[in-house]
């Protein structure tokens, strides 16, 4: 009996299959690679933009409030009453509801940089008001608002706040240099603010340096 010869087969050979699989593998790798790269870029952009925005807003906020520093009414206390490298305390009516009334008493405010990770020297900058007792406590009842985190000034050895002080006796301007030469708060005429912000927190660090200078408008007449 003569077997019927099968009609022409339409399948693919193993070689063809392997070639197609190889091409698909290459193409998939390229597409996935592009996808991953784009996703990473988007993620980094998103994180860094947010961080950059927060840093800008923080530095702008600090500049405006420090510029508005005002001596408390009826006292001899200076407008800026503490001028440390990582902390500045001052009185201000900024953003109070009755700031347009001159008799509104300025409230004590501080901007403080707190190191939260001693290992890499990163921390955050806060705006704080004292609690009901009128004093800033190391723990407890300060009214605290986070301005920006992942600030790496400490790790890089950079002061957040630097000061120019005027000495009316010598007619000299002196620049503060960390804790070694603290500024006399009553003589501060200019405050420099510098933030070294990690734009890629939690990942490979990518630092941005943002700084400004502000001259308090209510400096004393010397």
């Amino acid at each position: 009996m003569r077997m019927a010869r099968p009609r022409r087969q339409q399948g693919i050979t193993l070689v063809e299959l392997l070639v197609v699989m190889s091409i698909m593998l290459v193409l998939s790798t390229m597409i996935i690679g592009t996808w991953v790269a784009l996703t990473n870029a988007y993620s980094f952009s998103s994180r860094s933009d947010k961080q950059r925005d927060l840093a800008r807003q923080a530095i702008d906020r600090m500049a405006r409030e420090i510029r508005d520093a005002q001596e408390p009414l009826g006292t001899s206390s200076p407008a800026i009453n503490l001028a440390y490298p990582n902390e500045i305390r001052f009185y201000s009516t900024f953003n109070t509801s009755d700031a347009s009334t001159p008799t509104t008493e300025p409230r004590l405010t501080r901007f403080i940089y707190k190191v939260t990770n001693a290992a890499d020297g990163t921390g955050a900058v806060y705006r704080e008001f004292p609690g009901p007792d009128g004093e800033f406590d190391t723990v407890g009842d300060n009214v605290s608002e986070l301005l920006v985190k992942d600030v790496s000034n400490d790790g890089a050895g950079k002061d957040v706040f630097t000061y120019w002080s005027y000495d009316p006796v010598t007619d000299d301007l002196t620049h503060s240099d960390g804790m070694a030469t603290l500024a006399d708060p009553s003589r501060v005429v200019e405050v420099g603010i510098t933030l070294l912000v990690d734009l890629n927190p939690g990942k490979a660090p990518n630092y941005m340096d943002i700084s400004t200078k502000v001259q308090p408008r209510n400096v004393r007449e010397f």
């Binding site: 784009l38 700031a99 001159p102 008799t103």
Partner: protein
């Protein structure tokens, strides 16, 4: 066309899907970038608005300096059109809402410094204590800012020494016709000095009225007679004459002293000689009915910084002080009722060239507004939307 059965078209779907995903990702990146640009732009406009508000505060100060609004004055205002013209619209676009600049003036509540309150119902210095508040709101694009500060008028009396008819740092020549003295006295003055740093050359006692003493001084200084810092302030400030009817400064050689539209009481001429006949009459002498330049009740000061003052021919009557850095020649029917200061030399001829007038000197001792300064510790930034 032959149908190719058995093929499943997954590649096209795969490609469309990948392109769609990439497009979404790219769109997200674009949105992210636009957000950043928008935030940056908004922040920039906030800063610009703040600068506009600060400029408004400065302009408010200058406005008060030029004309401090006393209790009966009209409410001061800033010319917003002129102010706006200083800021190009390309970099300072029109505000999305409100006006570009709004400067308001308020009186204080009468509390003494350093903690003056504010009286928002009154827009002039009603209590006349030289203290006012300025509130300035600036807006450009989406940004707006408002600042306020208390300002204080800094005034100073002229401190002109009375009893001096003529002060010349150089030589002085007094030679009249003999009919009347060249230097005399207006009642009620009974005595005055003529001081010269150089030689005094005169015909005889008939050239000066009784009571006029001539002295070639050796120790007196101009500072004793007419304090120079006052003059310098007059020259440098240019606008500090809130207590004077008006003020005019010619910065270059003047072709003539027209027009005198604003009836100035202080005239400073930087370059060029002046002949008294060119000075326009501003007042009428009630006793004689004759036209005069200024008056005993409201005298003025004429300062020539780099030129000579000549008074020849036509009669001209001036009530005030003529201060000449160079020299001066007075002759003819000229009359200066008040005082003459010549840093160089002075030649006086004719009759009654200078009559010392103590009322004129007394009426010139008015305070000048030297500046309007911010009261320390009163500057505040406010919520622009309140």
């Amino acid at each position: 066309m032959e149908s190719r059965r058995g093929e499943s078209g997954a590649t096209l779907i795969l490609i469309v899907g990948v392109i769609a995903a990439l497009a979404i990702l790219a769109s997200a990146l674009v949105v992210l970038s636009m957000n950043v640009m928008h935030n940056t732009s908004a922040q920039t406009q906030e800063v610009k608005a703040f600068n506009v508000a600060e400029a408004g505060l400065d302009t408010g100060q200058a406005t008060l300096w030029a004309s401090w609004p006393g209790p009966s004055a009209t409410e001061p205002s800033v010319d917003s059109s002129a102010f706006r013209a200083q800021f190009p619209t390309s970099t300072f676009p029109a505000p999305e809402s409100g006006s570009f600049i709004d400067v308001q003036f308020f009186d204080d509540d009468g509390n003494s410094l350093p903690s003056p309150g504010i009286n928002r119902e009154v827009h002039v210095d009603q209590n006349d204590n030289g203290i006012m508040w300025i509130e300035s709101r600036g807006a450009t694009g989406s940004g707006s800012a408002k600042v306020m500060a208390c300002v204080q008028k800094v005034s100073r009396d002229l401190q002109i020494r009375d009893g001096v008819a003529i002060f010349s740092e150089g030589s002085l020549e007094i030679k009249g016709t003999g009919n009347q003295p060249v230097v005399g006295l207006d009642p009620p003055a009974t005595a005055a000095q003529v001081l010269a740093g150089g030689d005094i050359d005169f015909n005889g006692n008939s050239d000066v009225e009784g009571g006029i003493g001539l002295e070639e001084y050796t120790t007196t200084t101009l500072q004793d007679v007419f304090p120079s810092e006052i003059l310098l302030n007059i020259i440098e400030s240019g606008k500090s004459f809130a207590n004077w009817a008006a003020y005019t400064l010619w910065k270059s050689s003047h072709p003539g002293i027209e027009p005198f539209a604003t009836d100035p009481r202080i005239i400073i001429i930087e370059n060029g000689d002046v002949d008294a006949k060119d000075l326009p009459d501003t007042d009428v002498d009630p006793a004689t009915g004759l036209d005069t330049v200024w008056s005993e009740e409201d005298p003025g000061i004429l300062v020539l910084l780099n030129g000579s003052f000549n008074q020849t021919g036509q009669k001209k009557t001036i009530y005030g002080i003529v201060y000449v850095v160079n020299g001066m020649i007075l002759g003819g029917n000229a009359e200066i009722h008040g005082m003459v200061v010549a840093r160089g030399w002075a030649n006086l001829h004719g009759t009654r060239a200078v009559d010392y007038n103590q009322n004129v000197i007394a009426n010139l001792q008015r305070p000048l507004t030297l500046s309007v300064k911010l009261v320390p510790n009163t500057w505040r930034e406010l919520n622009p939307n309140e």
